[in-house]
Symmetry: C2
Subunit: 327 residues, 2 copies
Amino acid sequence: MITISDIEASAKRAQGVVRRTPLLSSPFLDEIAGREVYLKAEVLQHTGSFKFRGGWSALTALTDDQRARGVIAYSSGNHAQGVARAAQILGVPATILMPDNAPALKIANTRAMGAEVVLYDRAGGEDRGAIGAALSEERGLTLVKPYDDPNVMAGQGTCGLEIAEQAAEAGMTEGTVLTCCGGGGLTSGIATALEAKAPGLTVRPVEPEGFDDAARSLVAGEILSNEGPEVGLCDAVLTPAPGALTFPLMQRLCGPGIVVTDAQVKAAMRLAAIRLKLVVEPGGAVALAAALFHGDALAPGPVTATLSGGNVDPALFAQILAEPAAG
Amino acid sequence: MITISDIEASAKRAQGVVRRTPLLSSPFLDEIAGREVYLKAEVLQHTGSFKFRGGWSALTALTDDQRARGVIAYSSGNHAQGVARAAQILGVPATILMPDNAPALKIANTRAMGAEVVLYDRAGGEDRGAIGAALSEERGLTLVKPYDDPNVMAGQGTCGLEIAEQAAEAGMTEGTVLTCCGGGGLTSGIATALEAKAPGLTVRPVEPEGFDDAARSLVAGEILSNEGPEVGLCDAVLTPAPGALTFPLMQRLCGPGIVVTDAQVKAAMRLAAIRLKLVVEPGGAVALAAALFHGDALAPGPVTATLSGGNVDPALFAQILAEPAAG
């Protein structure tokens, strides 16, 4: 569990390194949604996703001895890059465990940032947790988990501090904040920041159809998992279940989850490109899809959506962009 | 001619409306260029290009009587949108004269912003100046020229004020600033701002091959024109010649022009999408192309390039993104 103090301490360590990403808008998107829509452009964060916040937060919290031995992380790609880049800047050796079906761009970027990449068979069901634990014991590495880690959660929470400030600048005291939700690191971090700094803003996690573990868990009041392998369009948010640390915060602070279709995600990606000039990956567009196409499920008032990441393979992005516009 | 006072007055009128766009970077781009590269992300400005700065600047300088009668502008698209959106916000009637071969997205956007769009035959050589003058006389409209207008130039200069501030924040006191150059409004505005606020930064205008009127004019010491019709990949910067007001400033303040190929522009667009998560239109990518592929022509030290606009038709963007990477 984390508190606002953890997030504020993380924000202090982030000063001068982590980017304060802009809160953008477009009258064209407002018209589609029938309300004011603001976008937190985390695609502009270092490494192209909010995950750099958590990586930097975790690595700057290590002891000198831990830094010298190095870190290990497992990730479908964005956490990998966030940790790898933070490690590169800080001179910490990084080993990254990635699924062999992760987008090629994410694997290549992680390697280019100086990390050693170890691939595992995600579709075949290899247990990345076990592989990671074995590697970290063997090499004396500190494991940086993708979401269920207090320092990582505090780092993602710095995005929430910025949303609170930017909402105040925009005169927004009430409204909904939609987050792209995988394991709940960003969602719980933002919710914790907003509880303290902008209590009139309610966080609602958004997930793709078929991977709605957070939405179902919130309804059930206990952690439920997705069935089947973690393969789908929205690779960044296909985690099997909310985390043991993130879920209690989500349960206490968030409204009900929202589920979007792949077609809505693609339409949101097209609109982000045309109206905001931003490249957003599928998993990073689920919150915008909810803002644009699920207004009925939202309380009245303005909505802020995270654009969590932009690391989409160019060929896939081009293909989605060229499809006939559905929204 | 304008001075720093005009730009500072324009910046005051812009407060709370015009966006302070971020200065971005990527280690991947630094590696290609072999130096530090910073990008001024004007694609994130309202209407997707820096032209909103000039439009807002010009319209807020009008008398109440002029506002009530309305404005007219002629533009291949970005100035059209900048003026149309400023007019929409201020409640000023706007008539926009656009070439019939302008990108469909730019024409549609301008109409959606409430402006009356009048199309003319650019490829066939119809004189937009004459058409605009006739319309403005007939309706009592104030003509807002795309670059050769002191208030427009001062508005574009606010981009230079921000570059000066952001360069100082990044510890940059010397270096090169590459601008996407059409008629020279942005180039002369930025150069005037930097002369006063960051004199160690030298502006170099960048143009596409075949439309290098500014580069040739700077060499000749007099205004020279491009031959033939204004048709090409980089539609935003295909103006026939530097302006009577912009050229003397460019002559006094800018280094030599740089010319880039269409292939380099496309490579820059792909890299902006992959490394910066930004959608940049061809004309808005010429300065980045120079930063990445014309390092030999630049003085040592960091380079800042404007990403001037992002209003590219999605189908063309998808096609360029899907082409085999050349750089």
